[in-house]
């Protein structure tokens, strides 16, 4: 393929940034060069992080080195919101104005930043800083959240609240998933091993791949990312798939508003994620794994990166792991600001260096996933359950919780709650119990609404507090557990404002591929604005009927889960809450 670039040639610094990812230039062309396209996103990150924006010279250089046509590269670069195609100051502060932070003073903070640094998205730096509004940053337990992304020769990105808070249940003896958080050094493989780490992998190797899969099937573990698909069945399908190679992918692109569990797991116990992935790889005969971490999680990325390097040194990744003859290694990939990349097939496209657009299913990932090969893709929390299953046995794991929902479960409590944070309970606890565990609603206020499962989830009213937080329990009241979000809104919250923000979230995060979602999310947002302002077309009843039709079309005809769930929260709020716009 002839790559025709125009405009500036890369200067030395631009070439150096790209070469830091792609290696020193070797005369690769054609298929050989294009086969490295999975390094496209890391190369873009390197340029963004060095210069604060994607300079034309560097883009041209990436085009030439990977033989990716400039138009296609432009299409990929403009897909992700953390990349800038125009110059911007070296410090960008992302201020979360999403639902959990809105009710904790996000607007006040935005006003403060505006006074200090000028209007949002100001391309002209005031004190070297610009700020912009952001969807949920996954730090809802310390709302309102902010993230500083630096650019430069040795940039360091961090959240404005530097200290890592302890988990509220710290020190409780019955924790399983969270037992090491805050107690075992997340940067030391020795500390992890002396706390029982990697015993599950040793046990798995004794059992053999088929027995491992049998245990996972017996545990009835289902995915914790939101879709709740049986993990054992996924593994079994990939293990039996004839096509090679097989891949294991860890979905750590946690972006569902109100969700922060995977971040805390990766920051506090990164080796557990790696051990879970390694067992998955062993069971499914995969030699290569990818962990795709949300771009807004710099600390989690650093910890996981360091843990992978330490595991390699300790012979726990790489060739001949634990002398078993089994080889497996993991690469980290950073997302770049796109909620949609948490959708599994969009995530594959993103790793492959393409736009993060979901694929039509079938084929499913177990048949044709990453690079078109059979792929196990599991959420972070799902994988952290795996060592427990191997050590305790699938039967014992299945004995915890209810028959339909087994094992321990993490819930992300945020909003109007005394002790927001990540909580672990065995499946079966009621919503009321979990809320009481977190100290209830502050200042003696009443609960107005609870959001279960995030923006793609369901609003329920306080009369439903006794619902058991299980898959079957929430399903029975027409709700969903989703990713484990429990967000509390007290009586003072303007729920119309919250719904408007949810609608804006889906409009901003739609990939734009299919018509129902691309236009439907915009029409839904416009309709809510009309209801809010009272300038309805026809009667309110007409508008509500139209809203239902928009929701139905998105749910039925969208390609992926984003469009299919983009009306859930709004429709459930209109059905279950007493809203002034009605």
């Amino acid at each position: 393929m002839d790559i025709r670039v125009h405009g500036p040639k890369a200067i030395a610094a631009e070439r150096a940034a790209v070469d830091s990812v792609l290696g020193a230039p070797v005369p690769l062309t054609g298929h050989a060069a294009r086969s490295r396209r999975d390094l496209l996103l890391p190369a873009l990150h390197a340029v963004q992080s060095r210069f604060g924006w994607l300079t034309p010279g560097a883009l041209n250089y990436i085009s030439e080195r990977l033989t990716v046509p400039p138009a296609e590269l432009f299409g990929v670069a403009t897909f992700y919101h953390l990349f800038s195609l125009t110059p911007q100051p070296p410090h960008v502060i992302y201020v979360c104005d999403d639902i959990a932070c809105r009710i904790q003073g996000a607007e006040v903070r935005c006003a403060k930043f505006e006074a200090e640094f000028g209007p949002a998205d100001n391309p002209v730096a005031k004190n070297g800083v610009t700020w912009r509004r952001s969807p949920c940053l996954g730090q809802c337990e310390r709302a309102p959240a902010t993230l500083v992304i630096e650019a430069g020769e040795a940039p360091l990105s961090y959240s404005l609240l530097q200290e890592e808070g302890l988990i509220p249940q710290f020190g409780q003896p019955r924790l399983r998933l969270l037992r090491r958080i805050g107690r075992v050094d997340p940067e030391s493989v020795e500390a992890y091993r002396s706390d029982g780490g990697y015993r599950a992998l040793e046990r798995a190797i004794q059992l053999g791949p088929q027995e491992v899969i049998r245990e996972v099937i017996a545990s009835n573990l289902v995915g914790r990312g939101g879709a709740a698909f049986p993990t054992g069945r996924k593994w079994d399908a990939v293990a039996k798939a004839v096509a090679r190679p097989h891949y294991v992918v860890c979905n750590a692109d946690e972006s569902e508003p109100g969700t922060f569990k995977d971040r805390i797991l990766m920051e506090g116990d990164p080796f557990a994620v790696i051990e879970g992935m390694t067992i998955a790889a062993y069971a499914t005969a995969s030699e290569r794994g990818y962990i795709y971490i949300r771009g807004e999680y710099p600390l989690a990325t650093r910890r996981v990166d360091a843990a992978i390097r330490a595991a390699r040194v300790a012979g726990l990744l790489g060739n001949d792991i634990l002398g078993s003859g089994f080889s497996f290694d993991i690469e980290v990939r950073r997302g770049a600001g796109a909620y949609i990349c948490g959708e599994e097939t969009a995530l594959f496209n993103s790793i492959e260096g393409k736009r993060g657009e979901p694929r039509n299913k079938p084929p499913f990932p177990v048949q044709a996933g990453l690079f078109g090969k059979p792929t196990v893709i599991n959420n972070v929390e799902t994988l952290v359950n795996v060592p427990l299953i191997i050590l305790d046995g699938g039967q014992a794991f299945a004995g915890v919780g209810t028959s339909g929902s087994t094992g321990p479960k993490l819930f992300c409590l945020s909003g109007h709650i005394v002790r927001p944070g990540l909580y672990e309970v065995p499946f079966g606890c009621t919503l009321r119990e979990v809320i009481e565990m977190a100290g209830g609603v502050p200042n003696g206020k009443q609960i107005q609404a609870i959001l279960l499962g995030g923006a793609a989830g369901t609003f329920i009213g306080p009369e439903k507090l006794d619902v058991p937080l299980t898959f079957e329990g929430t399903r029975a009241i027409g709700a969903t557990l989703g990713s484990g979000v429990v967000m509390i809104f007290d009586e003072t919250v303007d729920m119309t404002d919250i719904l408007t923000r949810v609608a804006a979230f889906f409009r901003d995060e739609s990939c734009g591929q299919c018509v129902p979602c691309r236009v439907g999310t915009v029409r839904q947002e416009e309709l809510l604005a009309r209801l809010k302002s009272g300038k309805t077309i026809g009667t309110k009843a007409d508008e509500l009927a139209l809203l239902k039709e928009i929701g139905q079309a998105m749910r039925d005809a969208s390609i992926c889960g984003l469009g299919q769930t983009a009306s859930n929260a709004i429709e459930s709020a209109l059905a279950n809450l007493k809203l002034p716009i009605l």
Binding site: P69, A71, T78, G512, V515, V519, S558, I559
Partner: protein, 310 residues
Amino acid sequence: MSTSDPIWFTPPPRPSRPPAPPEQPEATQVDIRIDGQPARVPGTMTILEACRSRGIDTPTLCYLENLTPVNVCRVCVVELAGARTLAPACSRKVEAGMDIQTNSDRVKLARKMVLEFLGSSVDLSTAPQAQSYIKRYEARPERYGSDVETVDQPVKIDNDLYVRDYSKCILCYKCVEACGTDAQNTFAIAVAARGFDARISTENDVPLPESACVYCGNCIGVCPTGALMFKSEYEMRQAGTWDETRQTKTDTICPYCGVGCTLTLHTQDNRIVKVTSPLDVDVTHGHLCIKGRFGFEFVQNREENSGSDG
């Protein structure tokens, strides 16, 4: 050898077209139901092909026989018994036992809404196919009011051969496919940005002459809405002289090289106003190069310059 045989060798007649690919083993037949009627069709068929083979007209916008289905417009969705969501007929293969509804309430609603979404955000004035679907499914794009977001934007005229009016673009991805591996392998355009802001673009939105474009015009050939248009057609429409009822189509063979592409010349008032190629011709599958697509001016120049030479 008999004495009547000639002493020289007579070559067999030359094939009139390239040799056909080796015969595929016949596809297994599967039993399905379409709208309650049992049907037996090859298992390699898509739902769309199965529907069309039974005479069921299924609307499509982003689908074209000569391109890989991208199933993005969702106007072809059908209901499958037992499935949570509707399925795109254009890309989904039939499976044994499939129970397909092409006209259920859910299907009709989804198709109507897709058409309303497009009709309320895109200028469909030069998209007769989409307009006919809007009538068929009783879509009312106007019910969203006049204060709605649209993709309205200035027309891009940056070269002598064709015009890009993305106010008319439904983002069907066809032009990107035709520019890429489905036909031309030039990759001058791609989808950029995302969500409602997603658009077809060259790198940094540079004008076509600065891009990799080779002006094959295959993007125009596949565009379903007139967002991409011959400059000749655009100018005649602006002047109000474009009149398809006065146009005739004549198939001929391109005079330029030895490939022998079939051209369809669209003529109005004895002048060529547009060139296409039939989708079902083996040589082109509807795709041409710059010479076949745009190299017709010499015909009319001869008329103009030497007048009596015709």
